[in-house]
């Protein structure tokens, strides 16, 4: 295996209701991550993009997105219809294969383009589920119901996750909602989409996330302290909610075990929590010790969920903690689908 590290990260200012086109959204963040790395775009030998046409509202939008890259002379480029974290995985594989040394990966989403809660129905089985249009919140509500009933997550843990996300969001600055409410205060609020209160739902955002990863010498040249990707794995559960045990995330648990989350201490874990009950489900699956591991210090997707970018941003924030020495060993996580269907977990180390 080659040593591959995250060497630069950039994230757009999160908004809701940008009037820019998706391509206009991408350009500044791609240029910023190149600037953060201090390299020219010609030094990037593989590009990979994560986005979803149903969210962009434009068939083959990923083709138009190549306009944002300055693809002249022609580049080697690929796309995943997934969060940008899976684009990072593809780039990591490409580097492992020896076909690239420096890769730029990015994800973008414009949640304000339409009713994304409804549109995300289309991730489901088109014969027996999608024609009913359950929407993502309803499906996640069923998952939360399962977890609450089984006792793997409590209402208080959900409120605590939301409370901490809102407080961390205030420190981060680049989020859509923030607040200083205690878990008790949040619990006193009305249940709106049972079993959820409004703060249990993600703050939908428009945004772009970009990361540069590089192999060995290139990584050391670009970054003072690369966040070395020591292990990375992704797993998928079945699509059909009725076939799964929604009270736990089996795929996240396997991915965490594969990457050896517990081979050493975990200073921070950036978890892609889009609904508040995910946090405890993921803590359970990754077997994190909350007294020893700081959970999602960026605030996470609950306070700013740029679809198809928020997962990659978790990798970025975890890497940033390595860059600045806040952490020596970090876990990055991203998810896709309904009820934590697909999970990707990586261990990042500074040394």
């Amino acid at each position: 295996m080659r040593d591959v590290g995250i060497v630069a990260f950039a994230e757009s200012q999160l908004t809701y209701g940008t009037t820019n086109t998706p391509v206009e959204m991408i350009v500044p963040t791609v240029n910023e991550v190149l600037k953060n790395a201090g390299i020219e775009r010609t030094e990037v030998d593989f590009w990979c993009h994560g986005s979803c046409d149903y969210m962009t509202g434009q068939p083959f939008s990923f083709v138009a997105a190549v306009d944002a890259l300055g693809a002249w002379p022609p580049i080697i480029e690929s796309h995943v219809e997934m969060d940008g974290a899976w684009a990072l995985y593809e780039a990591w594989v490409k580097i492992q294969m020896g076909e690239a040394n420096v890769a730029l990966v990015f994800g973008n989403g414009k949640s304000s383009a339409g009713d994304m809660n409804r549109a995300l129905t289309l991730q489901q089985d088109p014969y027996t589920v999608a024609p009913l249009w359950p929407g993502l919140t309803a499906m996640e509500g069923i998952g939360a119901c399962a977890a609450l009933q089984a006792g793997t997550v409590t209402e208080r843990q959900m409120a605590e996750a939301a409370s901490r996300a809102r407080r961390d969001g205030a420190k981060n600055g680049n989020v859509l909602v923030s607040g200083s409410e205690s878990a008790d205060e949040l619990l006193s609020r009305a249940v709106t989409s049972a079993p959820f209160r409004d703060h249990d739902l993600p703050a939908m955002a428009d945004g772009v996330s970009a990361i540069i990863i590089a192999a060995g010498h290139a990584a050391k040249r670009i970054a003072k302290r690369p966040a070395w990707i020591r292990a990375i794995d992704h797993r998928i559960d079945h699509q059909n909610l009725g076939w799964r045990d929604l009270a736990r995330s089996t795929s996240a648990a396997i991915a965490a075990s594969e990457v050896g989350v517990h081979n050493d201490k975990v200073d921070i874990a950036e978890l892609h929590t889009t609904f508040s009950h995910h946090e405890q489900l993921l803590i359970n699956a990754l077997q994190l010790r909350t007294d020893a591991t700081r959970i999602t210090p960026s605030g996470g997707a609950l306070v700013g969920n740029a679809l198809m970018a928020a997962g990659l941003s978790r990798f970025g924030h975890a890497a940033r903690a390595i860059f600045d020495g806040t952490a020596d060993r970090a876990v990055a996580h991203a998810q896709q689908g309904a009820c934590l269907q697909q999970n990707i977990v990586a261990v990042l180390e500074g040394n």
Binding site: T19, Y127, T128, P131, I142, Q149, N240
Partner: protein, 157 residues
């Protein structure tokens, strides 16, 4: 065409926007398993497939989730069942089968071993509970689609 005036809006920053509807008139081939399941719904029967370990899947599994073997052993299940999990939809989408606030539930039909997702017509959150009994309400139109079941409703509630 010029002449069909676009419904444009000027945003606060002066830029243009317009409504856009993307629609895809998919006409899906079903395959033998879903063809049988959905056409049985049109006949107001609910059928599932039995896996090698004896579990009955509704909607049917085309292949055994554990072994990958094709499943051809069909079982008719009841049109009543038990709510295993549920959530609340405070604002229905235009294309939901119900137009008042309602619940979603994973429902374990009598005779099935795996629950299926569908809508439950309940007047309020207070009427919903894990373990409650529900019964299918058939749509007026007999169509080979999952919406042949309009929704479920509480039994004796």
């Amino acid at each position: 065409m010029a002449g069909d005036k676009l419904q444009v809006t000027f945003e606060t920053d002066g830029s243009l926007s317009a409504p856009l509807t993307l629609s895809y008139p998919y006409n899906r081939t079903l395959g033998t398993t879903y063809a049988r399941f959905l056409s049985s719904l049109a006949d107001r029967r609910i059928e599932g497939t039995k896996a090698q370990d004896g579990r009955v899947f509704v909607p049917p599994a085309e292949f055994d989730p554990s072994t990958g073997a094709p499943l051809n052993d069909w079982v008719q299940v009841g049109d009543s069942g038990t709510v295993v999990q549920w959530s609340w939809q405070p604002t229905p989408f235009a294309d939901n089968t119900l137009d008042e606030p309602f619940a979603w539930a994973l429902i374990l039909l009598d005779g099935a071993d795996v629950p299926m997702l569908h809508a439950v017509r309940a007047s309020s959150v207070a009427d919903m509970a894990v373990g409650m009994r529900v019964k299918a309400v058939w749509a007026d139109e007999r169509i080979p689609e999952i919406t042949a079941i309009r929704c479920f409703e509480p039994v004796g509630g």
